[in-house]
């Protein structure tokens, strides 16, 4: 797959800008990650996808399903030898604080993106998603990024630094397109650390244990997607009827769903390798709004 287009937060307008704001609020993160920016390159699909998925994404059930996926990745990674990247580099205390912030930010976000990608992919191949609960029946969680969550800060996808360029090329070659995953672009702010981490992660990705764990995580994500509270009305035909290239949308979604379990397993190893990184970062409070408001918002 060639380099796919992404829509930056700065360039987003119209429906994409609106959905980006909603995504940050509902996913409770400080920025819009690469995976979502790739989808946004298909703006009509993107808006329809969000309309179909938002009622699920803002529920406690979605949050808990994402927690289970994160736990599964962490449990798998806990079986493997310690990575040793954290101690291999000489970062200062403030730098380590920032790296921990990145790991917690992506630890909170990536399981949700995996679940979202699995649900969308299932819908695009006409498989059922959700259990058709009555609108407004499921508990919702509070909106907005937690006050202490790190900013989503990245190095350019085409950096000037030769070491980073070569690392990014190797990462994409290994985890697959489309684009350099956000967590690696964030960790590239500390090139030595990224190099130490990637040089240890890469060989493990070829091992049977890793491959099996990634496959299992992918299956779990689809199972969780099927069990979400609300039915999802989204299909390739609908995408095509909106004037979008349904095949291209599917290719991007399929590629994302395939690589996200690997990314989550790598993130889990980095999390376990770094002291004091929360396994379950920033748990969500319940959203305390009257039912009639909730039902109205669910349209």
């Amino acid at each position: 797959m060639a380099r796919a287009k992404q829509v930056s937060e700065r360039d987003a307008d119209g429906d994409v800008e609106r959905v980006y704001h909603e995504l940050r609020q509902v996913l409770r993160v400080t920025g819009v990650d690469v995976s979502l920016r790739l989808w946004a390159a298909f703006p009509r699909f993107f808006a329809s996808m969000w309309e179909a998925m938002e009622p699920n994404v803002e529920t406690r059930a979605f949050e808990e399903a994402a927690d289970r996926l994160r736990d599964e990745a962490l449990d798998a990674a806990a079986e493997w030898e310690e990575l040793g990247a954290w101690d291999a580099v000489t970062l200062g205390p403030s730098q380590r604080f920032h790296v921990r912030g990145v790991l917690e930010l992506y630890g909170a976000l990536q399981p949700k993106v995996l679940l979202l990608a699995s649900a969308v992919r299932l819908a695009l191949v006409a498989e059922p998603v959700g259990r058709n609960a009555v609108p407004g029946a499921a508990e919702r969680v509070e909106r907005g990024a937690p006050a202490r969550m790190a900013a989503m800060e990245w190095v350019s996808e085409r950096p000037d630094d030769a070491l980073l360029r070569s690392l990014f090329a190797d990462i994409v070659k290994t985890v697959g397109q489309p684009g350099v995953p956000g967590e690696y672009r964030a960790l590239a702010l500390w090139p030595e650390y990224l190099e130490a981490a990637w040089s240890r992660l890469k060989p493990r990705m070829a091992e049977d244990d890793f491959v099996h764990a990634a496959e299992a995580l992918g299956r779990s994500a689809r199972r969780e997607a099927r069990a979400l509270p609300y039915g999802v009305t989204l299909s390739r035909e609908w995408v095509a009827s909106q004037g979008e290239a349904a095949a291209a949308v599917f290719r991007v979604t399929d590629a994302l769903e395939r690589r996200l379990p690997m990314l989550l397993l790598n993130l889990a190893q980095l999390t376990l390798d770094a002291p004091e990184v929360e396994r379950r970062p920033v748990p969500a409070a319940s959203r305390l709004v009257p039912d009639w408001v909730a039902a109205g918002e669910l349209r």
Binding site: R10, T30, S94, Q95, F97, H98, R148, M149, E153, L189
Partner: protein
């Protein structure tokens, strides 16, 4: 020291939901050094190690600057920054310090001295914002919320490098200094944070404390680049008139970034102000990274 080496020396302290990164060097009576916009604590990377030969030197990145908290959800005015510096000093157990401040950091220092007087034992203002001398037009334009969309991070870097080279330095600083000063703002998050810092620049906040500067009651040194085109020396002179007993030193041949244009003279004046004889090594160290004239 390059900016990455400086960054690696930074510690961090959490203050409620916010955090500050700072460098802590040496032992002895505390000296707090405050930077301005669009820089970060790296501004002091030549001078701070020199002062650390005789003092404990604490160099924070102000909130929203450098590698302190740069999330897009809080006030960055000099008034608020003074409260944060007070809380930070409290956390570090520093009761009072000699405060050395440049540019916007000078506005923070004025608020600190007026509103938290016990924190400031002595005050040195270098090419500091004051009265209605600021913000610069470039910063007003940068601070417009629309700048986030109009300008890429690369464009902002180009603009600021040009502005700093043309108006900030009397002579080219050592290699890597300008790039280092702007390094935290090279990303999109950094750029947005800089835009928010710029929109927080508010004349009213220095005018608010100006009438009380005459009652500071601590020794004050005012160092000013003679050729500073960003904040002309007349403002330094005005400060010297308004603050009883303040010593005013015009630094010949220096522009806004006086600590880089004339490190030898600035270091010598600071040691004199601190009441200690400047160790030869210290002045040498402050000037070490200076290229030949």
């Amino acid at each position: 020291m390059n900016w990455r080496e400086w960054q690696a020396r930074q510690a961090v302290v959490e203050l409620g939901d916010r955090f500050l990164s700072y460098v802590d060097l040496g032992t002895g009576r505390p000296v707090v050094m405050l930077h301005g916009i669009p820089t970060w604590s790296f501004l002091w990377s030549a001078l701070a190690p020199a002062l650390a030969l005789t003092h404990r030197v604490l160099v924070p990145d102000l909130l929203g600057y450098g590698y302190s908290d740069r999330r897009d959800c809080f006030d960055r005015s000099v008034s608020r920054q003074a409260e944060v510096v007070d809380a930070w000093m409290d956390r570090l157990g520093v009761v009072d310090a000699v405060v050395v401040a440049h540019d916007v950091g000078g506005g923070v220092a004025q608020h600190l001295a007026v509103r938290f007087p016990r924190r400031v034992g002595r005050l040195c203002l270098m090419d500091s914002v004051c009265y209605d001398a600021w913000p610069l037009e470039l910063m007003l334009q940068l601070g417009h919320p629309g700048a986030v969309r109009k300008l890429s991070a690369e464009a902002v870097q180009r603009l600021l490098k040009l502005g700093m080279r043309r108006g900030g330095f009397a002579r080219a600083p050592p290699d890597g200094v300008i790039e280092g000063l702007l390094a935290p703002y090279a990303t999109e998050v950094g750029k947005v944070s800089l835009v928010r810092n710029a929109v927080s620049l508010n004349t009213n906040h220095t005018l608010e404390v100006a009438p009380r500067l005459g009652h500071l009651g601590v020794p004050v040194l005012i160092l000013w680049g003679e050729d500073d085109g960003f904040l002309p020396p007349k403002y330094g002179e005005r400060l010297a008139w308004d603050i009883p007993g303040a010593r005013y030193v015009k630094v010949p041949g220096a522009k806004h970034f006086v600590m880089w244009d004339a490190p030898h003279m600035v270091a010598t004046e600071l040691f004199r102000f601190l009441g200690v004889e400047a160790p030869a090594e210290a002045v040498e160290r402050a000037s070490a990274s200076l290229p030949p004239p």
